[in-house]
Assembly symmetry: C2
Homo-oligomer: 87 residues x 2
């Protein structure tokens, strides 16, 4: 299972600009068969997770990409951050 | 990109016990080519993210699976939670 993640992350298309960059990806995925909406707390939970990331990772807005995808029974929030060079 | 997530999540093996369950997955992945360790704040960031999830999702310990995987330049924390039935 974890190896699937590794393959998945490694398998991302590399563009020349980002090859050497340091990146952080945070994903919150909710799944429930046959039900469109997640728990009522899901939006707040996601908001708070993003705030925690924001607290630790201080980057300009354009270094953060947030994407939410919905499909029946599955809702995926994905946050991709390009980290600043730290040497 | 988001569709990859959907495929990835959908593609998980389904065992009969979990088909109808509601599930939450939180992933924190850090990638940096040619460097083993993430930022110094990474362990704290992850700890705090897990605490946020714990605050919202009150489940018994055996409903939570946490897995950390390391491979050169890539470190993936994965938290899988089986949510209680909420009707």
């Amino acid at each position: 299972m974890a190896m699937d993640w590794l393959k998945f992350l490694r398998g991302e298309p590399k563009n020349t600009a980002s090859v050497a960059k340091e990146r952080l990806k945070v994903v919150v995925a909710h799944q429930r068969e046959g039900r469109a909406n997640g728990p009522v707390y899901l939006p707040m939970l996601r908001e708070e997770l993003l705030n925690v990331v924001r607290k630790y990772v201080q980057v300009p807005d354009n270094a953060v990409q947030i994407n939410v995808q919905r499909e029946d029974g599955l809702e995926v929030l994905e946050m991709n951050i390009t980290l600043p060079e730290t040497g």
